[in-house]
Amino acid sequence: MGLSTDYVLCFLQKMFPSILKQLIRNRTVIKQSYSSFKDVSTNGTSITQILKNEIIPLNTDENKKLANDTEEKLPTTKDPGEASVELSETDRVRALNQSTVRDYSGVYPYIRQGSIFASSINDSDFLKELLKLGVNFYKLEKNLESIPFIQGLRFEDVKDHIILLKELGLETHAIGNVITNNPFILKEDLEDLNVRVNYLQYKKFTNAMIARIIEKNPNWLSQSTQEIDNKLGFFQSNFNLSGDEVRLLAVSCPRLVTWELEKVKLNIFVLKEEMGLLPEEMKKVILKKPKIFLNGQHRLLKTFDYLHNTMKIAIETIVETPEILTCRQTRLMQRHMFLEKLGRVQYNPKKPNYVALTTLVSGTDSHFATEVAKSSVAAYNEFLKSL
């Protein structure tokens, strides 16, 4: 043999990896005695040793005898039973790879929102009654917990709840809206609901006020009187509100009272520490525009930062018109820069060509471009594309 076997092997490995692979594959089929490479290496023979045995008979006829010897030798090192198991394993894997059967156990068909109630609405009289109230089943289905809850109810269970809501002065479609947004109000005990309503009456809320509170905030009645009392107390003590002012706050923005307290505290921190508002100013802001406490703290701070540091608007002015704090910073920036480009920036009410901050923020773009900036919508759109 002219070339050493090592050299041949190396050459094959480098140049024809596919041939080498084919050889290895043939080996597993023809020589049943071999198991995986790992087992062989633990027995002391390396992979190259096996390959050598493999390649030699293919390359040279002279070494056939030698190869036959090794062939005979190697089965003795293995337990025949183990080898047959190994083969069946490889066969199984191959069969799996070749078959078109796939594992679909983790895959489910896509169920469209609204389709669960749609499948049962024609058969159920209760669901039909709810539909007549104006319950939006599509929205209801967004909360997955509510689906089995509503389907497990009967009309007799919830009749009194609906009558109670009706007696509070809510219109029929408003009741539907309450159930859509908070279906678990039907889960509450009827006495609890009466106690909660009585609490509000005890706190001198009129019937119209209570109706408005429940209509605007369906989650209100799901909270216990203790929780509501604590939250009203929190706003009263933090902003130094009188009884009438607390009632005004609860009616003007009922959602704020049941809002997550941590988020409200963060917004209070932004107003108090980062903007530096005085307690009286805070009170003014919350009574005039309670909605800004519902927004995220970063958004609030960004808007304030732009108003105060770039547009140079005094804090007193911002407190007088707190609705500008609800505007997004990008919108404020676009409009301010457009006015700046036209040379119309004048936020001082004592000077001519004064631009009121409320008109700057509110209104559509066309209204702003023609009425406030005295320009055209096309020019404003062109400007927006140049940002």
């Binding site: 039909k128 599509y138 940002l387």
Partner: protein
Amino acid sequence: MVAPNSSALWNALKGIVCVYKPPETSVRKLRTQLILKICASLNEADENQFYRPFKPYTSSTTELIQKSVDRSIDLKEHPLVYGPKFDELDLPVSWSNYLGWNTSGVLLFGLRSGTQFAKYIRENRSTRAYRIKGVFGQATDNGFKNGKVIERSTWRHIKHFQFDRILSSMQAAHQKKMFEMCGVDMQSQLAYELAAQGPIRPVNSKIPIVYGIKCVEYEGPGFTLEIQCINEYESYLVELIQEIGIRLHSTAHCTGIKCIRHSYFTLDHALLSKHWDINNVLKNLNMCNSILEENEHVLKQKSIALR
């Protein structure tokens, strides 16, 4: 006026839309916004067509709903049960060029079967033009204006002609590199023939190549560059500005990147996000599709040399 048929509008919604991307938003967010706005306006058209009375809740709505429940045979189709007709998941949208967080400008979206066109445009690697604003004298840690200032330097020694000289040398270096990568001598007939067929494109989509770079405005420390390039990305352009600053013995950072052209689509075609309702989108879609029909090589290049 006849109310538009929402199904017909939906069927027409196939192709490329050219939108304007404002700075400081991500393309992914813009995509969800576009889908939501298109679906909302489609659903509005659908409701106007069939269920107009349900929309503003008044006391008469209650009666209407009750009547509709009593009258209808199959309640599955009732708008309060089935919900809006067009779901956000039904509308496939993909982008054909990705603009970074700070970049603004022309962005192409493929809608429904137009996602294929978006893919072809992306894989075809067409040239894009950018307008980049920068400022000499300050270097920031991320190279953009929102970063921390880490270095200050003088800039008054930079004259306009020096600036132009550096830019033209950079442009020439890029062009020369392209011919070298083709394996063609710059002085040969072959190089001329290659150049006559248009810009030579890199094979790999990861190699940024600048074809033209010039200064359109230079006042004080601020300057504006116009760049034509292929395969660029935001950080590459930011680094380019930093490099220009260093080559001029100063420092520079970027204050704004705007894509003003993407193959044949310019800022004039781009649709602002406040105009993303179904009528404007369809108008824009038709315009973009006619541009694609006129210039088929945007989708597929025939010449091998250009690849």
